[in-house]
Amino acid sequence: MSIDMSQFHQVFFEECFEGLESMESGLLNLDTGAIDSEVINTIFRGAHSIKGGSGTFGFTDVADFTHIMETLLDEMRDGRRQVTQPAIDVLLGSVDCLRTMLTSIQAEESVDSAAVEKYKTALEIELTGSASEPSTTTPTAATQPAHDNAETVVVVADEDMVEEKGWKIGFCPYLDLLKTGNDPVRMFRELAELGEYSVSVNTNDIPPFSKLDPEECNLSWALEVIGDIPESEIREIFNWVEGDCELDIQSFTKKTAKPASEAKITEPEAPPPVQEIEQPKPAPIAAKAVDSPSAPKPQAAQADNDPSKASAKSAASNSIRVDTTKIDTLINMVGEVVITQSMLSLIGENFTMDKLAQLKRGLAQLERHIRDMQQSVMNIRMVPISFVFSRFPRLVHDISTKLGKKIELKLVGESTEVDKAVVELISDPLVHLIRNSLDHGIEMPAERIAAGKPETGTIELNAYHRGGHIVIEIIDNGRGLNKAKLIAKAVEKGLLDENAVLGDKQAFELIFMPGFSTAESITDISGRGVGMDVVRRNIQSLGGNIEIISELGKGTTISIHLPLTLAIIDGQSVAVGDEIYIVPLVSIKESINITESMLNKIAGKGETYRLRNLYIPIIRMHEIFNVQPTDKANTGEGVIVVVERQGVLCGLFVDELLGPQQVVVKSLETNYRRVQGVSGATILGDGSVALILDIPGLVRYSNR
């Protein structure tokens, strides 16, 4: 029976990468000093599963490599080996190496064997401390064929003698043999397959009926098998019951007139299966060496299946793991919609006006269900932010070691969910920001002690939902931003006028300018000055924004606000002249009916409105969008929609409010081009296009 193993490869790779991730996070946990046996166990299981799978699916390189890791981890698990920092570092490196290996194999590229060898050697050096095991494959591989040859030689010699070989087996099981699920009859059946066989049973030990326990095995047997059978094959049959019985295996030779050719036929076939399945006296290394003869087969199968593999590969990057409860909810919703729909079509079949109320009720129900369904579908795209966060412990570990700083990373709100598209796009900017915090933010231990701070700096990554947004904060307790230094640098670079007077916030904003870098020297971690402006641009292109709060000597907080999803928003439609605009509902604080006389004009500063104790700037929508005002606007009546952006308020003066509705966001940039004050467009129920207002942009504009 041959099975196409390549169909399992995709699952296998996914599983491996997951396993590697948990190994990595486990290793990093060990790193902090606490030796938790459960953690070691988890890491071990990761290596173990990869080894088992890769061997089975024919990736012997991976299996060999993980075997060494596993051996090392096994010793740690059993307490035979101390968990040391160098060992952890080697293991972490090996995890990376393994990941690269698997990625190459998955992409069907050749594996960088030099790197693999490097880590293999490093692991072996770690291992040799114990000297309990030779860790290279070479010596065992060498002994193995030698052993085979020896066996063949014996067989050949026997052949010449034209003698018949056989085995006498005394098999006396202990009483409990049956309780392991082993059945002597099945073993005898196997023996019978090896050669001519005879059996006699000894019933002398059967107790009188009154004392008979049917669960016990009171029989013993004497067996004889005739045939040129290697001892290992006989032993293999009894392999599982070794220790549960008295077993006596003896060879004998009988001179008979058997043709020699028979032995010749059986001999070449017999040994390989034995070795593939089991070694008579297995040692870990022996099992590994045995891998090699069976390896070419699965690999060949793999090569045969290029097209299917390639398609599976491209699907991998787009796949998403969804909690089944989410799917169940969705299926429920669909069921509801179907029921409502059939109800509606029933009403529609013989419609009379007296059924109008029923129809309206049905439509309302449909609307509710579709809204719920939409929510559920969006939910499927939502993944926890831990997808991004999980890579940072490693990053912080590596970089802090490199820089010689002591840094603790705290992750808060990892389960906060956000759209998959946002997760993918936010990853790189976050890496950059964290690198910056590590490199520029946190001081060297000595400097920290001198400043009266704890030696170990902390970086906190915090994610939470606020309104329709996800907020990600990167908080460090490092040296903070030096306003004077920032300004001096900006002036020196010609980015700022010498006489400019800047507030804190504006000064911090300088670091987002292209070509700005304050690092005294450029390290390979950060400081090339191409970073922060790109970070900000990426975040803004996601419809988010980034801001900095910093106190000199105390630390810096960088907050990123991002929309939860990029596809659908709750909006409020407002009329301006003959046009309809959409204001994202999340940014609306309140709306007030006013007459123009309630506005205050300030020379050179535009108009303001007194909202309780606060004066807020007013934007006349028909002015900035150049829309012909209607008669109503001319009478000076209208509505102020008060919108907020991070605590800053602003009033949008529109003609009237039309009503809330959900809108599907279509990008203006891809269909037209970027327009100031507009973040996108949508199609209304009547087919016309309405623009969605860019509230952050408008608020910035109003405060200028």
């Binding site: 029976m1 041959s2 099975i3 193993m5 169909q7 399992f8 490869h9 699952v11 296998f12 996914e14 599983e15 988890t42 071990f44 299981r45 173990h48 599963s49 080894k51 088992g52 799978g53 890769s54 061997g55 089975t56 699916f57 299996a63 596993e70 049956l178 309780k179 392991t180 699920g181 082993n182 059945d183 099945r186 073993m187 196997e190 669960e215 392999n239 599982w240 220790g243 549960d244 593939e276 399945i277 089991e278 070694q279 297995p282 040692a283 870990p284 022996a286 099992a287 891998d291 069976s294 087969k297 699965p298």
Partner: protein, 120 residues
């Protein structure tokens, strides 16, 4: 046809085992760890258990020990899938009541051959 419970925390191995066994005409159910397997084995009587050893929540050896103590599974063959070919592991498995073991890596043919040893 005999029904088999395949227990492994690794989805790829589980799939491979299931696929192979189903292809040979066995009835197969899957369990993701020892806890899952115990619950499934109690709900329905299987003719054979094939389990991985290293699993979270409950490992294969504990599973075998607990199953073996149930009247329904007193004589049912239970096989361990193990990469650990060390004698101690096998002894630990046997002490728990395992019928036998299959050493990873194995190919589908070996799996079927071994199962044939305990079923039929």
């Amino acid at each position: 046809m005999a029904s088999i419970l395949a227990v492994d925390d690794s989805a790829s191995m589980r799939k491979m085992v299931t696929f192979t066994l189903k292809g040979a005409g066995y009835e197969v159910e899957e369990a993701v760890d020892g806890v899952d397997a115990l619950a499934k084995a109690q709900a329905k009587r299987f003719d054979c258990i094939v389990t991985d050893v290293n699993m979270p929540n409950k490992d294969g050896i504990t599973l075998i020990r607990e199953l073996r103590s149930l009247p329904d599974y007193k004589y049912i063959p239970m096989l361990m899938l193990t990469t650990e070919s060390s004698a101690e592991k096998k002894q630990a498995g046997k002490a728990a009541g395992a019928t036998g073991w299959i050493v990873k890596p194995f190919d589908p043919d070996q799996l079927l051959k071994t199962l044939n040893k305990v079923l039929g």
